[in-house]
């Protein structure tokens, strides 16, 4: 019955409660949508990095990632690749030769990361082949084709079908030069990647290197949920190799993804903090208007803790009603834009520096709902304290004598 009374009390002043509920709903609507935007941005950034080149898991010889030395290759790479492919949860595997090289055009030179890949495997493992803006990802019949980023092509002053000379140090210390023809230009959302990445076929690279060297095995798994399980299984199977997930390979992404939740929590917290004052004001007005009534309730024997509980319940009802409406509207908006996307091409230049696509798909993680619920309850409880204390401190004889 006390809950029923509290609910009825919320609707005594329909206009005032309605305005407060609308304010809470609007605040949370905006908050949830903003969280959806940021979460979508962070998720897209992680997904884009995984799709672009990182993949979920990478296997290297110890020390390779730090030294980038051509001699630090994976021993018996074919058997390792075959073993990884047979692992449960593994979708595709792309073995890569990775060499720090110099790309030279007739007008310029640039330091690049040279990837010798099997085009079929790389196509399945990453999204570069789908980001071609000119030519193709080794689908033409060119001899010694090379695929580079459009940004790198601009730096080198070359176009499709232009000649490019790649030079690097072989394991024996000698410098080797190879002439390649640009068969494709890609353009991803990451300008840094586009500005220093070069792909060639391993079949063309191996003769230049002089031996079969695999430095990196990129592993794409079926679901990010099984990331740790797959990485753990591979680590156990290849204790002499370094098996790392994308979180280890790109710790800045991991930190970004993790800090996103904290940032969003703070963001929602600030919104609720602002609403807290509004809720407190509404409840305080409600209590002051009902001074005589609270006096009567205390007079006839309602304990002060129950009076406080009633005000707390009213505040919770008021806040939760607004929260349900706001979160529902926010979620619906996120869902709507989540399927259609938001075109941010106006900011494409800035976003690409962070590897973020200019088309954003907002998303809300399920964990946000209990987080918002807890935050609303905490904010409501905090809002109820002052009005509640005012009510329980009333002296019944004085309160009953109040006009109202």
């Amino acid at each position: 019955m006390l809950a029923a009374i509290a609910w009825k009390n919320v609707w005594r002043s329909k206009r005032r409660s309605g305005i407060m509920i609308a304010a809470i709903a609007a605040g949370l609507w905006g908050g949830v949508f903003a969280v959806g935007m940021f979460t979508g941005m962070y998720d897209a950034m992680v997904a884009a990095a995984i799709d672009r080149n990182l993949t979920h898991v990478q296997v290297h010889a110890p020390g390779f990632r730090e030294e980038r030395l051509i001699g630090l290759a994976i021993p018996n790479p074919d058997s390792v690749v075959a073993a990884i492919r047979s692992n449960r949860g593994v979708e595709t595997v792309s073995p890569r030769t990775v060499i720090e090289a110099i790309a030279a055009s007739p007008t310029s030179t640039q330091g690049v990361s040279l990837f010798g890949v099997d085009p079929g495997s790389e196509r399945a493992a990453t999204s570069v082949s789908r980001r071609m803006v000119a030519g193709s990802f080794f689908e033409g019949g060119e001899r010694t084709p090379v695929v580079i980023g459009r940004k790198l092509a601009e730096k080198l002053g070359v176009k499709l079908r232009a000649k490019l000379v790649l030079s690097f140090q072989r394991p024996d210390g000698t410098i080797v030069y190879g002439a390649f023809r640009i068969a494709g230009l890609f353009d991803t959302e990451a300008t840094t990647f586009d500005g220093r990445t070069v792909f060639v076929r391993r079949a063309d690279l191996d003769p230049l290197v002089g031996e079969l060297l695999i430095h990196e095995i990129a592993v794409r798994i079926a679901s990010n949920d099984s990331l740790e399980a797959v990485a753990g299984a591979l680590s156990s199977r290849f204790p002499a190799l370094r098996v790392e997930t994308w979180k280890d390979l790109a710790p800045e992404l991991k930190i970004t993804a993790e800090s996103a939740d904290i940032t969003m929590g703070i963001f929602l917290g600030v919104i609720l903090l602002a609403l807290l004052f509004g809720i407190t004001n509404t409840m305080l007005m409600s209590v002051l208007e009902r001074t005589r009534e609270f006096g009567v309730l205390i007079a006839i024997g309602m304990k002060r803790t129950r009076v406080f509980g009633m005000i707390l319940t009213e505040t919770l009802f008021l806040s939760l009603t607004g929260a349900v409406v706001g979160v529902a509207c926010g979620s619906a908006t996120v869902l709507w834009f989540g399927t259609r996307g938001i075109d941010l091409s106006f900011f494409a230049g800035g976003l690409s520096l962070y590897g973020i696509s200019s088309f954003l798909y907002p998303v809300v993680h399920p964990v946000m709902y209990p987080t918002v619920a807890i935050m609303v309850v905490v904010a409501a409880c905090a809002s109820a304290v002052y009005p509640g204390v005012r009510a329980v401190r009333l002296r019944p004889a004085t309160a009953i004598a109040t006009f109202g």
């Binding site: 019955m1 009374i5 005594r12 009567v296 007079a299 006839i300 309602m302 002060r304 004889a397």
Partner: protein
């Protein structure tokens, strides 16, 4: 042992520059089943005295013993509990809970007492029958006349099965017909059920029906006489 025993009650308000002596040395006793009126002009201390008897206000000096319990030294929380189980209140402005129906208003106090639901509902119906409002059980206070609201207030006061009912100017806001009906109801409850009523009033119609009339002036009892009403 008297139901209520006041000994040398003093109440001084210090809320203004000059202390106000609302009650000055009142000593009196009220017995079970009395139908007592406390009368006097405005500012004579009637309401203050009722508040002190009802534990809504504490005396500056003196002792208040109700049903053998000294309530003048009780903590506020203990007083709330005491009022819930021992005292029924009827206020001048009815003071029903506006969002509750007549029945819910009556039932509410039993809810506070922890009475189980079926018993609450049965007693609510009995009380509304007693005050002649069973057909208005589902009406909210705003849908009831002043007289009807005050009858609901009486039913609410009786719902806790109190030792006595304090009524502060219960007829002040009522027309003559409603006032007489309310008085008859209170008299009936006094006669038939032995319920003790103590009410403040300066309504001559009420004073005539009282069995005992205590007159206050400037916070002091100036007379304590049998009334014209018929004692139970």
């Amino acid at each position: 042992m008297s139901l209520i025993s006041l000994t040398n009650i003093v109440k001084i308000y210090n809320t203004t520059a000059v202390p106000v002596h609302a009650v000055s040395g009142v000593t009196l006793a009220v017995e079970w089943q009395e139908f007592t009126a406390i009368v006097g002009p405005s500012g004579s201390g009637k309401t203050t005295l009722l508040n002190i008897i009802g534990g809504l206000d504490s005396p500056t000096a003196g002792t208040v013993v109700v049903n053998g319990v000294d309530i003048s030294t009780m903590s506020q929380d203990a007083l709330i509990n005491f009022r819930l189980h021992h005292i029924g209140f009827v206020f001048q402005a009815y003071n029903l809970i506006p969002v509750l129906t007549a029945a819910e208003n009556v039932e509410f106090i039993m809810l506070l007492q922890g009475v189980e639901r079926r018993k609450r509902e049965r007693r609510t119906r009995e009380l509304l029958e007693a005050v002649g409002l069973v057909d208005r059980a589902a009406s909210r206070p705003s849908e009831l006349s002043g007289g009807e609201q005050q009858r609901v207030a009486v039913a609410r006061a009786l719902a806790s099965t109190p030792s006595f009912v304090l009524a502060d100017e219960p007829t002040a806001n009522l027309d003559t017909a409603s006032a007489m009906a309310l008085l008859e109801l209170m008299e009936h409850l006094n006669h038939e059920h032995g319920m003790t009523f103590i009410f403040s009033t300066h309504d001559g119609r009420v004073i005539k029906r009282a069995h005992r009339v205590i007159t206050l002036q400037d916070g002091m009892v100036t007379s304590d006489l049998p009334g014209e009403g018929v004692p139970s």
